[in-house]
């Protein structure tokens, strides 16, 4: 078969020819792409501005001219994407064409940032208004207005401004997403770590879907200082056509600075410089000059502060920095020199430019150097947060570089990147930019400046020359050692670094520690490395920020050498990894402990005392920090969890003697361990068995009836031994024969009457118990929680329809609405199927009746004969009841095993079938779009549902509540919180508890009821607060006379749905007053308050009081417990 080939006509690089073709074009964007992609740079450079004067061609090239409203900032058809180089050439020519606009913008931009740093609120706002007035709406404007609101007006105003934009239905999805994230990152309540993780999750999805354009776009736009790897910049540059020209210019600066900083790319540094040189000729901006570099108009004096700092004249360096910063606060490249000068002058606080953001930044920078770990972490966080405000431009780069490298060590590649970015982002001449340039004439021009000479010496790696330079001796050694390292003189270099690591100068010792370890690892000196790192960390725990812990672990694990596990320092490294980096190495940590103990031939932690090869300091650290329950439980020295906890308690008691200075720590830990044992035991007791019949209360109901039966029995006793007639009785498993003589019928009747009460008594029988402890809320919560955690199910609205699953709409803002709607339909249908199944389980599987269903207590001939024998022995009515209850419990326990088996088999099968249906439905709904997180959520839910059903199966055991120990109020509160949090993935810290000590502990028999009360109230909050996430829940307790009062308060969403809430609350009150709640307790979806009131009045005897109120946006429930009735 012949292949058809299309031939493009030969490229004719003539303006007239191209202009003619473009003017005649039916698809101008396609033809412009051809020009962008195929024509020479010189043709584009010479002619693009001419095309821009040609009506529709100009409009197509320019893209968005001016956005008068936010909705104008939307995706449109754009010229296709070419190579990165061609994209930059194209963009640079548009910028040159727009030079008048851009020069004006640069002037206003700098004025805005200056006023911002000086805290001149009004002036700052004027600049923003002016920029909006002249250039219309833009991303730059939105980002900086959000910054302005956040800084000067507070979170609420900021959110209000942002939400007006992103909630506007006319807004483009991608703009909405960006604005929302800009707003989010400004919130003081959101840590930078959390924000980083949000962006990481967003981009992860796209990485998995192999959509580098989307991933690059989000990383670059939303977290510029976090990433330095953008795989698809050309696509992003092409897409900038959608944005106003001031945005395109700001991005051009950032992208070129990024490309210059991150080393070899598909576009060379020379090419970037060549393209930018032309822009620099038309636009007057220091950031362009840095790239070119062009210091022709600069004054030599700009580098003098650096010279003074280099030679150690810190006082002069400081005063000059002050002078230059005061004249222009955007001289951010001087901030580092200023702060380090202050550090060497031993300043503890900086008062320069007091009352401005500049002063705050400088103090935070100093704090990173001099303050303890916790204070410096806060300073680092503030700087990190502020970098978001400045992320539309490059002004903040030198500050973020300082913060990153001084707070925590940076890997070489990252250090180089941020350093380059900082040197390209100064607003005036800086020696780094001179030294890093390859322009020899520039070097020669400034060679007499000590700072330039010093940097050029570093660049040439000439350590001999360095020795001769006039540099502060305090700092000379560290550079000398670095150059020795770069010249591969590892031994000499390591010696110097190790000596320097002992110095108290934080600017020196952090770097020295990092390089010592780096050299040891490169030279395969693993034991030495572990010893050095371990000793460093033990001597100063804050050094974990400077020790490359991950790097060490990666090297050690790759060795596959068991001998290394003899080294106790490896355990210390794992410990620091676990507490400062993450929990993903915890298994390896446990293995390392296990191997260490094995290699040392010791079984228990305290055996370490006998080992003379370890220092006291190492032994203390080992016992205190390594031998914790979650690590030592890997050992085969323990058979139960309780043994592990007891071991840790013993360690704590020993530590009190060995380390008396920290007595309080150990004492508190012992108390917490005792609490933990009690809580775990109680929790296991409660969850391991929820099936309970209050036989004592049933006895008082049934005693009279049985007494009467006993009297009749005595009159019929003569019939004992008479041959019996039988009738076939249909048991749930088999047909059984039951006698029909009067005596036997009396016995059958007695058993059946007791069985009936045992089963269906609504207060004390099985039905009441299962209703309160399983059917009402609990089973639905437990079965739904795997799906709720994965955002796969929603609730019904007032009309009974399932509400929209907003989570996935927000998660995938870039997916079309129609696809998301189709996915949502599948999820709503899935919610219904799951809820229908839960309802079937509740109403049919768990229906309690003594003659039918899962709890049927089938009567057997043997039961009749056994009771007949018992009656002949002349028992009291209570003996008879005990006897029958034993028979019934035996039958019930048999039933419970069958129920468990049904749950473990049939229910699992049914749920798996529903999940499979969802997967099938989704294939069609997704229409080929990649929904990795949704697929993961379904898979996780499928896994978790097994655990949920296993947990439910445990409930179907006979409760051992009579064995529960007496308790304080805090125990059921903690048990309920722990259970609630584990079911709903809720943070335990969100509960604020104020505890009291009761005059006497409450009887253990009520523990279960207290847990049910609190669990129900927490579930109520989850269901009715309608806030996500749920704000902290406050639990206050008070003791007045013989009454313990527990008040639980939570915030609620005040919206239109609250209309009529007062009437609903009044109705609840009425029902509770009249105690007509039996039916409503059994109804899923009703408030849990009825259930709580029922438990209070039936299970906990009488005298307690439940009240509730809604005040503004707070709902509170108060329970007064009459303690006297609750004691043993």
């Amino acid at each position: 078969m012949k292949t058809k080939r299309k031939y493009r006509s030969k490229i004719i690089e003539s303006f007239d020819h191209v202009a003619f073709r473009l003017l005649k074009s039916k698809n101008i964007l396609k033809d412009l792409f051809y020009v962008k992609n195929s024509y020479s740079q010189s043709f584009i450079d010479s002619n693009l501005h001419r095309f821009m004067d040609l009506g529709k061609i100009g409009e197509a090239i320019l893209g968005l001219h001016k956005a008068n409203k936010y909705s104008d900032l939307c995706s449109k058809d754009i010229i296709g994407t070419s190579t990165l180089k061609r994209e930059l050439i194209w963009l640079s020519n548009i910028l040159i064409d727009q030079k008048t606009v851009l020069n004006r913008f640069i002037y206003l931009r700098d004025n805005f940032y200056k006023s911002f740093i000086l805290c001149e609120e009004d002036k700052c706002l004027e600049c923003l208004d002016q920029i909006e007035d002249e250039f219309g709406k833009s991303e730059w404007l939105i980002q900086n207005r959000i910054g302005w609101y956040g800084q000067f007006k507070g979170t609420e105003d900021q959110k209000k401004y942002s939400s007006l934009i992103y909630e506007d239905p006319a807004i483009d999805d991608s703009i909405g997403l960006k604005v929302k994230q800009f707003s989010l990152r400004e919130l003081t309540s959101l840590s930078t770590k959390r924000y980083d993780s949000t962006i990481s999750n967003l981009t992860h999805e796209m990485d998995l879907a192999e959509t580098p354009a989307g991933s690059t776009y989000l990383k670059y736009f939303l977290n510029f200082y976090k990433y330095f790897d953008y795989p698809y910049l050309q696509g992003m540059v092409a897409s900038l056509m959608d944005l106003p020209v001031i945005d395109r210019y700001s991005h051009y600066l950032k992208i070129t600075a990024h490309l210059m900083s991150c080393g070899p790319q598909e576009i060379s540094v020379e090419q970037i410089i060549s393209i930018t040189s032309r822009v620099n000729e038309s636009i007057d901006d220091y950031y362009l000059k840095n790239i070119v570099p062009d210091f022709s108009s600069d004054l030599h004096k700009g580098i003098i502060p650096f010279d003074h700092y280099t030679i150690g004249n810190y006082s002069k360096a400081k005063s000059l920095c002050e002078e230059y910063i005061k004249s222009d606060v955007l001289n951010t490249h001087l901030y580092e020199t200023y702060v380090k000068s202050c550090y060497y002058l031993e300043f503890k606080k900086i008062s320069f430019m007091d009352g401005t953001i500049c002063n705050k930044i400088l103090n935070d920078m100093l704090s990173i150097l001099i303050d303890d770990e916790y204070v410096s972490a806060l300073s680092y966080e503030r700087i990190h947060k502020l970098s978001y405000v400045f992320s539309a431009d490059l002004h903040f780069s030198p500050i973020i570089y300082f913060a990153k490298k001084e707070y925590r060590y940076l890997e070489d590649e990252q250090e180089k990147y941020y350093n380059n970015l900082a040197s390209l982002s100064s607003s005036s001449l800086n020696p780094k930019r001179i030294a890093y340039s390859d322009d020899n004439s520039l070097h020669e021009k400034y060679l007499n400046n000590p700072s330039v000479e010093f940097l050029l010496t570093l660049k040439s790696k000439n350590y001999e020359k360095l020795k001769l330079l006039d540099i502060d001796e305090k700092r000379k050694d560290i550079y000398y050692a670095k150059l020795l390292y770069e010249n591969k003189h590892f031994k000499e270099s390591l010696e110097i670094f190790q000596k320097l690591s002992l110095k108290s100068d934080i600017l020196i010792n952090g770097v020295a520690v990092y390089f010592s370890i780096k050299i040891q690892l490169e030279c395969e000196l693993y034991e030495e490395c572990l010893n050095f790192a371990g000793n460093t960390l033990l001597a100063d725990k804050s050094m974990h920020l400077k020790v490359p812990i991950t790097k060490i672990i990666t090297f050690i694990e790759s060795l596959n050498d068991n001998y290394i596990y003899r080294n106790i320092n490896l355990l210390f490294i794992y410990h620091f990894y676990s507490v400062t980096i993450g929990s993903d190495k915890n298994e390896e940590f446990c293995d390392a402990y296990d191997e260490f103990m094995y290699a040392q031939n010791i079984k228990y932690p305290l055996d370490i005392e006998s080992k003379s090869c370890f220092t006291d300091n190492q032994k203390l650290f080992f016992l205190k920090n390594i031998c914790i329950p979650n690590v030592i439980d890997v050992s085969d020295a323990y058979r139960t969890n309780e043994e592990v906890i007891s071991e840790r308690m013993q360690i704590c008691y020993t530590m009190i003697d060995l380390d008396p200075d920290n007595f309080n720590d150990y004492d508190n830990e012992i108390t917490a361990l005792i609490d933990k044992i009690i809580i775990e035991k109680s929790k296991a007791q409660i969850t391991e068995g929820r099936i309970y019949v209050d036989t004592e209360s049933l006895k008082s109901i049934l005693a009279q009836q049985v007494r009467e039966k006993l009297i009749i029995f005595h009159s019929l006793k003569k019939n004992v031994g008479v041959e019996k007639k039988y009738v076939r009785h249909n048991d749930k498993h088999d047909d059984v024969l039951i006698p029909t003589d009067d005596l036997s019928l009396l016995i059958v009747n007695t058993i059946e009457e007791v069985s009936e009460q045992f089963c269906i008594n609504s207060e004390y029988g099985l039905d009441g118990n299962i209703s309160l402890e399983i059917r009402h809320g609990h089973i639905a919560a437990q079965l739904r929680c795997p799906f709720e955690k994965g955002f796969l199910v929603t609730e019904k609205d007032g009309s009974g329809k399932y509400i929209k699953n907003n989570y996935w709409f927000q998660k995938y803002p870039i997916v079309t609405n129609s696809t998301l709607m189709a996915v949502d339909r599948c999820l709503r249908s899935f919610s219904k199927k799951i809820d229908d199944l839960i309802e079937e389980v509740r109403s049919e599987w768990l229906k309690v009746h003594f003659a039918e269903g899962a709890f049927a207590l089938g009567l057997e001939e043997n039961d009749v004969l056994e009771l007949e024998t018992k009656l002949l022995s002349g028992p009291s009515e209570l003996d008879v009841l005990d006897f029958i209850f034993d028979i019934l419990w035996e039958k019930t326990e048999f039933n419970l095993e069958e129920i468990k088996s049904r749950f473990a088999n049939d229910l699992v099968l049914k749920i798996e079938a529903i999940i499979n249906e969802l997967n099938v439905d989704l294939v069609g709904a997704k229409g080929g779009v990649f929904f990795q997180d949704l697929d993961d959520a379904i898979q996780n839910a499928k896994n978790d549902v097994h655990a949920s059903i296993d947990e439910i199966c445990k409930w179907f055991n006979r409760s051992r509540r009579n064995e529960f120990i007496d308790f304080e109020l805090i125990l059921p509160l903690k048990l309920s919180i722990e259970t609630f949090c584990s079911v709903y993935n809720f943070d335990e810290d969100s509960f604020e508890i104020q505890d009291i000590v009761l005059p006497k502990p409450i009887s253990g028999e009520f523990l279960n009821d207290f847990v049910m009360i609190f669990m129900t109230l927490f579930q109520n909050i989850k269901k009715h607060s309608r806030l996500s996430p749920i704000p902290p829940i406050k639990i206050e307790t008070e003791l007045t006379g013989g009454t313990a009062i527990v008040k639980i308060s939570n915030k609620i969403l005040l919206d239109d749905l609250r209309v009529g809430e007062s009437a609903r609350l009044k109705e609840i009150n009425d029902v509770m007053r009249d105690r007509k709640y039996y039916d409503v307790v059994n109804t899923e979806g009703k408030t849990g308050l009825y259930k709580v009131d029922k438990i209070l009045n039936t299970k906990l005897k009488s005298g307690h009081k439940l009240s509730f109120e809604m005040k503004d946006d707070e709902f509170s429930v108060q329970i007064s417990f009459a303690l006297q009735r609750l004691y043993s």
């Binding site: 296990d594 439980d633 085969d636 592990v644 296991a684 007791q685 969850t687 088999n905 798996e912 896994n943």
Partner: protein
């Protein structure tokens, strides 16, 4: 033949034991229900085959029902310990899950299979995905046992 089933879910353990009885009617089958319970048996004895669950509690439940923390990769930890203590006999992982651990450090069954095959080739013989709703696990397990020569 001496066989060991390490599995915390009673229903699943029953099915695995039934499978082994069917395949090896003359065998001596022992059971453990936790990481620690399994390790204890393995360190003190030798087996011709171990069927091992992946996610289990640390300990067997004590009198009060406490079983210690749940270990998402307990099975991997058991195999790692076998290797370190030079207890080399065949293990087949039988799991109901195809992913383990929390979201941010999730390991899929495929990843785990590769990891265990690469690092413990003498011990780890393969994994089987167990489902109540299907008998394919039965066939898969049978295939592995044939491959390693325990079943003809």
């Amino acid at each position: 033949m001496k066989l060991l089933v390490i599995e915390d879910t009673i229903e699943k353990r029953k099915k695995l034991v039934d499978f082994l009885i069917e395949k090896f009617p003359q065998s001596n089958i022992e059971e453990a229900e936790s990481y620690n319970g399994g390790v204890e048996k393995i360190l003190n004895d030798s087996y011709d085959l171990v069927l091992l669950d992946m996610s289990m509690p640390t300990f067997d439940s004590d009198a009060s029902g406490c079983a210690g923390r749940m270990r998402a990769l307990a099975g991997r930890d058991v195999i790692s310990k076998m290797q370190r203590r030079n207890k080399i006999f065949p293990v087949v992982v039988v799991t109901r899950f195809d992913a383990f651990g929390a979201h941010d450090k999730k390991t899929t069954l495929n990843e785990l299979d590769t990891y265990l095959s690469d690092n413990y080739p003498e011990i780890y013989m393969g994994s089987v995905f167990f489902e109540y709703s299907s008998n394919s696990w039965f066939t898969e397990l049978d295939k592995i046992l044939k491959r390693i020569g325990l079943v003809k």
